[in-house]
Symmetry: C2
Amino acid sequence: MNTINVALVQQSMQADTRANLEVSLAQVQMAARRGADLVVLCELHTSLYFCQEKSARHFRLAEQIPGPLTRQLSLAARKNRVVIVGSVFEKRARRMYHNTAVVVERDGSLAGIYRKMHIPDGPGYHEQYYFVAGDTGFVPIQTSIGKLGVMVCWDQWFPEAARLMAIGGAEVLIFPTAIGWDPEDDDEEKQRQMQAWQIIQQSHSISNNLPVICTNRTGHEKDLSGTTRGIDFWGHSFVTDAFGKITTQGPADVAETLHARVDLSETKRCRQVWPYLQDRRIDAYGNISKRSVDAPRDPMPAPALPDRESRKKRR
Amino acid sequence: MNTINVALVQQSMQADTRANLEVSLAQVQMAARRGADLVVLCELHTSLYFCQEKSARHFRLAEQIPGPLTRQLSLAARKNRVVIVGSVFEKRARRMYHNTAVVVERDGSLAGIYRKMHIPDGPGYHEQYYFVAGDTGFVPIQTSIGKLGVMVCWDQWFPEAARLMAIGGAEVLIFPTAIGWDPEDDDEEKQRQMQAWQIIQQSHSISNNLPVICTNRTGHEKDLSGTTRGIDFWGHSFVTDAFGKITTQGPADVAETLHARVDLSETKRCRQVWPYLQDRRIDAYGNISKRSVDAPRDPMPAPALPDRESRKKRR
């Protein structure tokens, strides 16, 4: 199969996690009836984006894989004969949690998981409090419809991640996401951020000749700690072709399931004209694994010795 | 100094190399009078883009560094008190040539060179015939106005290159370029290519929080071998701020020197909000230095033996 029918569930969340899951599952069913082969849900699609605050009470939302949520996704995948990319607040062990994407095969089996590798930590996005950085590495997940390069949200800003998925054989890059505007920013700053977010993901498509699928939540969510004015999740879920062109895009503020056809065979044609993978200078990339390659600084000079002993000696 | 005045010389070349150099030097002088601190010339700005064909006669264009061209650039830099990024078809030794960027300090000294690391090779761009891949690595060049991450053209498609410059301390990324349209492509394809070219460079700005400066030649140049319909160099030299926004942009088909102010202090503010360099997973990037990390294939099964001997044995 070269072309896959993809559905992106751009969802608006509420406090009731069961209600959120019901919406996700209903959208999976509707998307399958419209012919979807693959349904991509948002990051943490069963809950509000609780990482706006640091509160231990949110850990009760976490569960193991497999667990109740994975089972529900599995049943939905089998019933509707679709591959699903879902998102689980994973309890791996006592006080060891991950932000994990699960890929469920159309027969209901678990095709694989990806644990978010890059974890943000800043005002509005206190994820390092909840999630330990993933240890799956950037390994695409084989499914009946192709090899899926599934990552999560903040990963989308790191070209290394997309590249590793590509040279690992990914046929498409997929980013379940939760990102939005600070209501205090002006419109120019808001547009600037959203455009940068699309451009960085388009660039992964261009530099790897792969289509990109990105789902984002929508709607305003309060900061329950009262520290900020909350987040206006900016929607704009989108799909690119294999050379970075956005072919389908959602609105900012409406919950909506988008449908797109993604042609996986474009990659082959694209790589013939733009053979980056052939021209990579792998002999010269070693320092990518360093934090910094600044020139070494001079060692700190020894302080002058103003004490009597040293003055005596000089005489 | 936090803000630098940059001039981008978007030039149209002719067969007469001396005339091309005179234009470059005149533009340097005019730009300096208009207050430029840094002048960025195009890739191979003294000649037509000879790589459209493979012909040994073009090797006579090459010269050593330092050599006549570097000296002319050096004199211009000293006379006009500007830093210049120029481009030299470098003869390093007998049949060892590079596509090299030179950075000349405002006092006329050679601040450093960068030898193009990624060399394209395809219809219209037969660079591997002329240039051996560079061995400088991705090391920014220190100048009086900042640490310049100078690369050349095809390098602009490789996020690894930009990242290495960034973690090496570059304060700005600079790409002298020669890229254009195949006249046989339709307008949609032309736009698609040019947009991808801008997006991939905007992405280096975004993912590294650095401004980008890119100069490109303009004008139609024939393919002297008669194989193709030549190249319409697409101009559109441009500058971004430290978050990928294009602030200055040239036209497609007019030779023009663009002026832009580039605020190097934006990087600091940008990195506070988007701390990618802090969140990079350097423990998980090792495979970037591999060509491919595909799962190993099954070894080839032994072929069946239809010869008499083996049939006999089976009886």
